[in-house]
C-alpha cells in the first residue's frame, strides 16, 4: 500500500467519523459540547490529510419518539462512537506501518493518539479524579 492509498483510506475513515458525530450530535441531549469538540478534531485530521477536502455536514438524525429513555439512547450513542474511535485508533497504527513518508507516519500516529483519547473520554476513563 502506497502513501496515496494510506492517505485515501484515512480520509475515508475520518469522513465516516465526522458523519457519525453529525448523526449523534443531532439526537443527543447530554455531553453535546464534548462531541462537537471531537468532531472538530476529526475535521482537523481530515484537513491535515487532505487540505482540499471540505466535507458537507450530513443531515442529523431526527429525534423520534420512542419508549427508550433519552439518557439510555445517549449512552448507547456514545458507546457506538467509542467503538468507532477505538477502531479508528487501531487502524491508524496499522496504516503507520504501511506509510513511507515520515511526516505522514507522524501525522497518523498523532491522529491515532487523539482517537484513542476520544475513546477513553467517551468511556468515562478520561474523567479526572
Amino acid at each position: 500500500m502506497g502513501d496515496d492509498a494510506v492517505r485515501s483510506q484515512r480520509v475515508a475513515t475520518e469522513t465516516a467519523l465526522i458523519a457519525a458525530y453529525d448523526r449523534v450530535i443531532g439526537a443527543q441531549t447530554t455531553g453535546v459540547d464534548e462531541l462537537r469538540t471531537f468532531r472538530e478534531h476529526h475535521l482537523a485530521h481530515l484537513k491535515a490529510l487532505d487540505p482540499a477536502n471540505d466535507p458537507t455536514p450530513t443531515a442529523s438524525l431526527a429525534v423520534t419518539t420512542s419508549p427508550t429513555p433519552q439518557l439510555a439512547k445517549d449512552a448507547a450513542a456514545r458507546a457506538g462512537l467509542r467503538t468507532l474511535e477505538t477502531q479508528a485508533a487501531s487502524s491508524a497504527v496499522e496504516l503507520c506501518i504501511f506509510a513511507g513518508d515520515v511526516e505522514l507516519v507522524e501525522l497518523l500516529a498523532r491522529i491515532g493518539a487523539s482517537e484513542s483519547a476520544h475513546a477513553a473520554l467517551l468511556s468515562g476513563r478520561g474523567t479526572p479524579g
Binding site: 478534531h41 503507520c96 507522524e106 498523532r110 491515532g112 493518539a113 484513542s116 483519547a117 479526572p128
Partner: protein, 153 residues
Amino acid sequence: MTRPASRAEALSSTLADEYAAIYGYGLVAAQVVGLSKRRAQSAIESHRSRRDQLRASITASGQSPPIPAPAYDSSTPITTPGQAADLAAAMENGLAGSYAQLAALSANAERRAAALAAQESAVRASSWSGVTEAFPGIVDGALATSVTNPTGG
C-alpha cells in the same frame, strides 16, 4: 524540543522524556490521593517499562543509552493536586509527541510500538486533564516546559 533527525536521536530524546516523566510522576504522586495516586503509581510503572524498552533498543543498536539527569526542575511549583494533574497531562502530551516522532523515524515492530505508546500517553494525558487535542503533543517543548533538566543534559 526540536524534531529528531534520526532514529537514534528519536530514541535518545524519547528516553530523556521518559526519565523526566518518571521523576515528574514522583512529584505528582506526592500531591494526590486515592484513585489519582493509584493512577500516578501505575503511570510510573508504565514509564519505567517504556524506559527499559528504549534503553534496550538503543543498546541493541550498539549505542550507549543516555543516563538520567542528576536533577530536574519543574517550571512551576507542584504543591496542589491541580498542579500535579496539569504536570502529568503536560508530560504525557509531550511523550505522545515524542513517540509519534519516534514512530516516524523507525520501522515495523518498533514503529508499531511507538505509535501505541503515543496512544497510551494521550489516553493518560486525557485522564488527568479530561480533554484531548486533535494532534496530541504537537506543541513543541510541552515536556521541556513542565519538567526540565537544569544541567541541560
